[in-house]
């Protein structure tokens, strides 16, 4: 059976109904374990003091903020190329989750930046990029909400997502050029893991797993809801047409 079979709404409903309890439970488990471990059982950083504990929220949220958009981009492409309805609805479902993740990354960043840099907000390239990403999410969600016809909405938001992705990357470079910034980027990113001491690194990994699972669960549930709403729309339309 090909992967595309899951693009059939009914099949997706069956499969996702099986996954959601598992992924939801695991998400809760990972979040509790990771956050308790991180919050209660790790020492303070010698430089950043107890604020280092914010890392367990800030980094996973920031990763998901970007990856949610990437997922929306992939789902939009699948919709535009292969016309699988579930794909378009999954992109729609991911939007609000992505914007909340972006918001969490921004807010925790502000609470972290205040004691570290002495300011809630700086026009640092990363912060600025996230603010721009937030605006992109806002536009994407607003466009979905504004268009009544579901297929038209799926097409137009997919095109916006495509163009928006290109402009988001472009903005990232433009913003980098515009201000070199003060973010100690290396210490926070996973690919340079040497910079994060093991004692922080392992609980962080668990938290990231928890956030990812939470994201998956929420997107699956929201996609189910979108599928039902779409079916409802089809029923209402048929009732009106007689």
């Amino acid at each position: 059976m090909s992967l595309w079979e899951y693009a059939n709404p009914a099949r997706f409903m069956v499969l996702s109904a099986r996954i959601v309890p598992v992924s939801g439970g695991l998400a809760a488990l990972c979040l509790v374990v990771g956050l308790v471990w991180g919050f209660f059982l790790t020492p303070d950083d010698y430089r950043q003091g107890s604020t280092v504990k914010i890392i367990y929220l800030h980094v996973p949220a920031a990763m998901l903020a970007i990856n949610a958009w990437v997922m929306m981009l992939v789902a939009s492409l699948i919709w535009l190329i292969r016309r699988h309805h579930v794909s378009a609805l999954a992109a729609r479902a991911a939007g609000p989750v992505g914007i909340v993740m972006t918001l969490i990354a921004l807010v925790t960043g502000a609470f972290w930046g205040q004691p570290m840099w002495g300011t809630w907000w700086a026009w640092d390239p990363r912060l600025t990029s996230f603010l721009i990403l937030f605006l992109f999410y806002l536009g994407y969600i607003a466009l979905w909400a504004a268009i009544e016809d579901p297929d038209t909405a799926a097409d137009l938001t997919s095109i916006l997502c495509l163009v928006g992705s290109v402009f988001a990357v472009l903005s990232r470079y433009a913003v980098n050029f515009w201000n070199q910034g003060l973010h100690q980027g290396a210490s926070l990113s996973l690919d340079k893991e040497k910079n994060v001491a093991d004692v922080f690194y392992f609980p962080l990994l668990v938290c990231i797993a928890g956030f990812v699972l939470l994201f998956v669960t929420l997107v699956l549930v929201r996609t189910q809801t979108e599928i039902r709403a779409r079916r409802l729309h089809a029923l209402n339309l048929r009732a009106r047409m007689g």
Partner: protein, 204 residues
């Protein structure tokens, strides 16, 4: 000679399939009258034939480049004169002379009048006159006689007849008798089955 061949065509409106298994052929010099109750998908079918919306499946041969389309709206610019409106479309379609179009729809005396000062019927005639400029073999009309009086309907029928006589073809969705010798196609028979909708089956 066949001007348009439609096979196994299915079209949707607002994401819901309304027509399926539409099939007909349209020969040279033939006209086809589409009939069907409101909401049966006449406009959807015509817009699909004109290439304005994609078919769910099926083939239309040749494609939209053979088709000239006149919908509900006439696409006129009120600020421009009758002649300027037509000259614009003539330029778009690569036609030089707008005189035949003016003549066919009895607009020659109104040529310098601004389109916004025309009556509803005159506007409609101006919109229909555009079809003469397209030089395309298949003319498609969606309710062309709205706001036309009897004499104007006669003008329209004669314009279509002369197009057919020159080897063209026409599809007209209308409720009134145009006095054309034409085949009639009732599209109610092509009503889509519910199964064509991916969200037709229960999703629990």
């Amino acid at each position: 000679m066949t001007r348009l061949r439609v096979r196994d065509l299915a079209c949707a409106r607002g994401g819901v399939p309304v027509l399926s298994d539409v099939a007909f052929t349209l020969g040279q010099g033939r006209a086809l009258i589409l009939r069907g109750p409101n909401g049966s998908g006449k406009t959807t079918l015509l817009r699909t034939l004109a290439g304005l919306q994609p078919a769910l499946r099926g083939t239309i041969d040749p494609g939209p480049e053979a088709v000239a389309y006149a919908g509900h709206a006439d696409g006129l610019k009120g600020g421009l004169s009758v002649a300027a409106n037509l000259t614009f479309w003539a330029g778009i379609f690569g036609t030089r002379d707008i005189a035949p179009a003016l003549e066919a729809f009895d607009l020659t005396d109104l040529r310098e009048r601004a389109a916004q000062n025309l009556s509803a019927g005159q506007k409609r005639r101006l919109g229909l006159a555009r079809m003469v400029l397209t030089q395309r073999p298949v003319w498609i009309f969606d309710e062309p006689t709205v706001s036309l009086d009897t004499a104007s309907v006669g003008l329209f029928a004669r314009a279509v007849e002369s197009h057919l006589a020159q080897g063209g073809a026409a599809i007209v969705a209308t409720h009134i008798d145009l006095g054309l010798t034409a085949d009639v196609l009732d599209i109610a028979q092509f009503r889509a089955r519910a199964m064509d909708d991916p969200f037709a089956t229960g999703v629990a």
